[in-house]
Assembly symmetry: C2
Homo-oligomer: 196 residues x 2
């Protein structure tokens, strides 16, 4: 099954593919697919684009599955405002489209509302009904905006010289103090022992 | 082609799959595949595990392609120390394996060294030679450590109540001030206009 081509997925195929990529079915990733599709449809004039995801939950995977933008290639930035919204934009001008799930529009979609506001426990959700409602709601549950992404977020930053950290001896993008960010105090490990 | 099963990929298949997912061939993603494989081999006693990636470049995609951990499902955390290293760990105990590309070991591998320290310009890299050297180097270019991930990074945080931001009207995980993080000053857009 071709990745990255939303139009080639039926809803059932997308559910299968997202479950494979994401590890389990997640309503947020399903609805995220429709949000990404809504944005792509409006980005027609741009052949390539970058993406911003405002939530760390589910949505980044919808973008990574359905567009060429991934975290690792740098075309997807995650800026965690906590809002359930994605933006596709032209990397030069910053012009693009932001799609968010609109809480004001959810009274017509009780299953989506229950899931989104965590009003029902996971075990009590009717997944079939929720899937059906997401499909029939489509763009009616979203607010879609034309946006210009702030200049500070545009463009590639020069990645500069690779240096050796004076403390851990590992390579890192050079900073003035001579230490990588871990040795500057970004603690990750409580124990670390060499085996190979 | 099955995703998430490194052992089923030949090197050529992995190059094809990573190019499809990542958008272009990237040496860091190719070498990252070997790093993830080296960690997986040592995580035999754990059926499931979480992942930490210490770099935003390339490596997150190797983890997302070859393990069940993605940014969107929360099993992959990106903690940008700038170091070229990945960690797989048991989410309860924090015990796991960290694999890093070791700058001290690269004198034997001149093509990898040139690429890693950006000593040659992209256009001047001999990609065939580099691919061959990455394959023949294998784990000899890595340092592999047993680690325990700090307690603060373990466990799921309760995601709490979903509230409506008093300023933008969008939903977000409730914070005391009544504002989502964007309206608290995390600026993303210089222009925003409603179209749907």
């Amino acid at each position: 099954m071709p990745m990255k081509e939303l139009n080639k997925y039926t809803a059932d195929e997308y559910i299968k593919a997202l479950t494979e990529f994401h590890g389990n079915f997640a309503p947020g990733l399903f609805i995220g697919g429709f949000m990404v599709a809504a944005a792509i449809r409006r980005m027609g004039e741009y052949e390539i684009f970058d993406a911003i995801c405002e939530s760390t939950a589910c949505l980044p995977d919808a973008i990574q599955m359905l567009t060429p933008c991934t975290v690792g290639n740098g075309w997807l930035k995650i800026i965690d405002t906590g809002r359930f919204a994605i933006t596709l934009y032209d990397k030069k001008s910053g012009n693009g489209v932001r799609v968010s799930l609109d809480p004001q529009k959810l009274d017509r979609f009780p299953e989506i509302k229950n899931w989104f506001f965590r009003l029902t426990r996971k075990q009590e959700q009717d997944q079939e009904k929720l899937i059906h409602e997401i499909q029939s709601a489509g763009e009616n549950a979203f607010t879609i905006r034309n946006v210009t992404v702030s200049r500070a977020l545009l463009g590639k930053h020069d990645r500069g010289r690779i240096a050796i950290c004076e403390s851990c001896g590992e390579a890192y993008p050079e900073e003035e103090c001579g230490l990588c960010r871990a040795c500057q105090g970004l603690e990750i490990y409580s124990k670390l022992s060499r085996v190979g």
